[in-house]
Amino acid sequence: MTLVSQATPPARSGTSPAFLRKIVVDPWLFGIFALVTLSVLVFAALPIFVVMKQAVVTDHGFDLGVLIDTLSQSFVWTSFLNTLLLGATSAVIATAAGFLLAFCATRTTMPGKTFVHGVALLPIISPPFVMALAVVILFGRSGLITRELLGIRNANVYGFHSLVLIQSLAFTPIAYLNIRGMLQSIDTALEDASASLGASRWTTFSRVTLPLVTPAILSSTLLVFVKSVEDFGNPMLIGGNYNTLAVEAYSQMVGYFNLQAGALLASLMLVPSMTAFLIHRYWVSKRSYVTVTGKPSTQTIRISGGVVVPLTLGCYAIVAAILLFYLTVVYVSFTKLPGVNNTLTLDHYATVFTAGFQTLTNSLLLAGIATPITAIAGMLIAYLLIRKAFPGSFLLRWATLLSFAAPGTILGIGYVSTFNAAPLLLTGTAFIVVAAMVVKNLQVGIEAGSNQLRQIDKSIEEASTILGASNTRTFFQVTLPLLKPALFTSLSYALTRSLTTLSAVIFLVSANWTLITVTILSQVETLKLGVAAAYCSILVFVVLAILAVMQLVLNSASKR
């Protein structure tokens, strides 16, 4: 007689563990996942680790002596503290300015909001060092304001004060957009409720509005801080003796060929960047009271009358400063020798379109290649992470986060060090530049794609699968089209960033593949301000034109 236990039926044969089954069901998609993860690891994580290793390991292996030697040199700590001070100052000022703009735009009767909005976005779509160029032109030794207007002969434009001015203005839009978004998603009924309970306008502002936007304020501060730490062009051009980590790393690498010091400085940049980034990701963003409902909350404008006047003047001052800087650049691009010979001319443009044309087409070509790759890869990764939790997803998630949080400088140095030998001998090629562009801008697309995916009913994709489509097909025929808005965000961001990036690619350009931003930098350094201004103007114009065309395409495509 045999006894058969009824409690636990025997395991079915041929059953594979859940995680294996995921792979077996969709080998193609898993293949894509594996490929994407591997690429991200090689092109995002590996270079950063290589730099960190270089910082502590010399030709003779791990050498504590060298490390201590480098660390004990004053330039390391000076530049580290400089970076922190500049970052903190710019972050506070830019956030305050951004808050002012955002509050006026969403809560007051300030006239000319569209115009203010448009101007406030200019710095986002142009290389940050356009500002630096303008400042040199306006306030430099032969500056249009300092010398022409005020007659000051020995104005010193270089240093901390200029950097703060420039970075604050250049990064105000980041804070503005961030805070504006949150103000818009807060139902003004909350403020009305406070008013109806008898609170004064000030009480409502300080007890209701301000606490509700605090997460956005903190998040803006941290983001601007990260941007400031990462900024290379402005400190390079206008820092003078005020060296930041990005500049110091560059000069150690390129000026003194001191790889170890360069790597160490670049690694040090990770400290403030990663700290700010992690605080942002794991603390600030969890503190938001705003729930995304998908429908816009009601927005009524309640603040009018006397208080609006000083607020409006503040906004106009910011806008005027931005406009002044940009118009100066445009003006100078048409001027023979600004401050010396102010006759109008097209010479600089002639130079750009003849001798300097290559660099412009290079930038357009490489950014043109990098942009669609960045955007589609971003959507694909978002899909893989949100919808398909393949084993190993965490690697992909962390590698992309790392590449986003890490400053361009460390990525640039990492690329040079990692891809200079077989089998990954890529230095000097266009490929390495494109890879840097893609990796640096991937995360924004992933973020936008993930947010959108969470709002797309999962059953739409299930409907496609159950009708017989594979997951790969479902992604390209159903998911990707539905991600169009996120795709557009990602495309615009990737394009602007790729065209205006400097900190990473400056290490990667070669004689064959030089980029417009690098050219502008060297033009400014050699004081060919007119040509630099012409390049900047063209760059801003090109970005604006492409964005406009993309917007048109998007609009016509969604009209059906």
């Binding site: 041929g14 059953t15 089954r21 069901v25 739409i460 299930e462 009708l467 017989g468 489509a469």
Partner: protein, 365 residues
Amino acid sequence: MSKVIFSNITKRFPGVAGATAVDRLNLTIEEGTLVTLLGPSGCGKTTTLRMLAGFETPSDGTITIGGRDVTNVPVNARNVGMVFQSYALFPHMTVRENVEYGVRLLSLPKAEMKDRVNTILETMALAQYADRSPSRLSGGQQQRVALARAVVTQPKVLLFDEPLSNLDAQLRERMRDELRAIQLRLGITSLYVTHDQSEAMAISDRVVVMRNGVIEQDDSPLNVYSRPGTGFVAEFMGKANILNGKVEAVDDTTVSVRIASTVAFALARNGRDFKLGQAVRCVVRPEHIRVDADGTMEAKVRRVVFQGAYVEYLTDLEGQECVFLDTDYYKSGVAEVGQTLKLSIDSRPVWVLPETETATLGKAA
């Protein structure tokens, strides 16, 4: 060809300690029939349906469709159709493109593909909307597109997850009848999930009542309503009084049960065994109790709810709660709280619950 069999299907979700969404479920869907899974929220209906679709993998057990074990077959190779609660129409495609989507994947000759799509669009009265975006259709029309898209590929099994819950009450009834008509015409084996008992009874060949991942009763709509296997089923299938009683007398064909000093019934025994003095629970539907000046039953009114078409009384029957509906209130007037009413019960539909709560005894009767 497309009979569906769930054998010993269990589903545990990882991370939810101890919770079993579906527990050793055995269910057969005969070829061409429509079976409804009915039950309260969270009882495992959707999970069961999604395991048949292939979106979830059973932790244990097997599922066969037409004799073929599909337990480990991926979703897109199962040849099942599904109508989603949210319809899940592709918003970036027209109605025609939506319907065409699955057919294209069958690699049929172009002419046949066109033909199939056009035929189904005609059948569903959608031809005139073929080139519209689904967002510009009414809820009922969207529902029909979803159905057209699901059946055009001629799936072996058709699945519905609360397909009507997004529609308003009137449209819901019409669409319900349309769904059933099309299912019958195509003769397609179907599994239908709902938590609306009247919808379940109206549309199904069999109703499967679930509770906490377990089947409570698997029976015809009529039996599930009038011969519930458990008190849970009785109460889930509509308003029910479950009254405690005692067996007073048993003979060859009848059993006499006393509920209260003024109420006793003689019921057909139908071959079931009863012992003298045995405690039993009787299901009495409110619609089978009426106000009757000549009635022997007496109950005291506790609450009166006026509902327009009828008055709902909650009464006290010697300590037991008893609810009934009076549609004739206009004749004798509405009673007041505290008043004692004379009532009578139509004893023919009274049902004595089988003793064990887990049995599916409706079938035995």
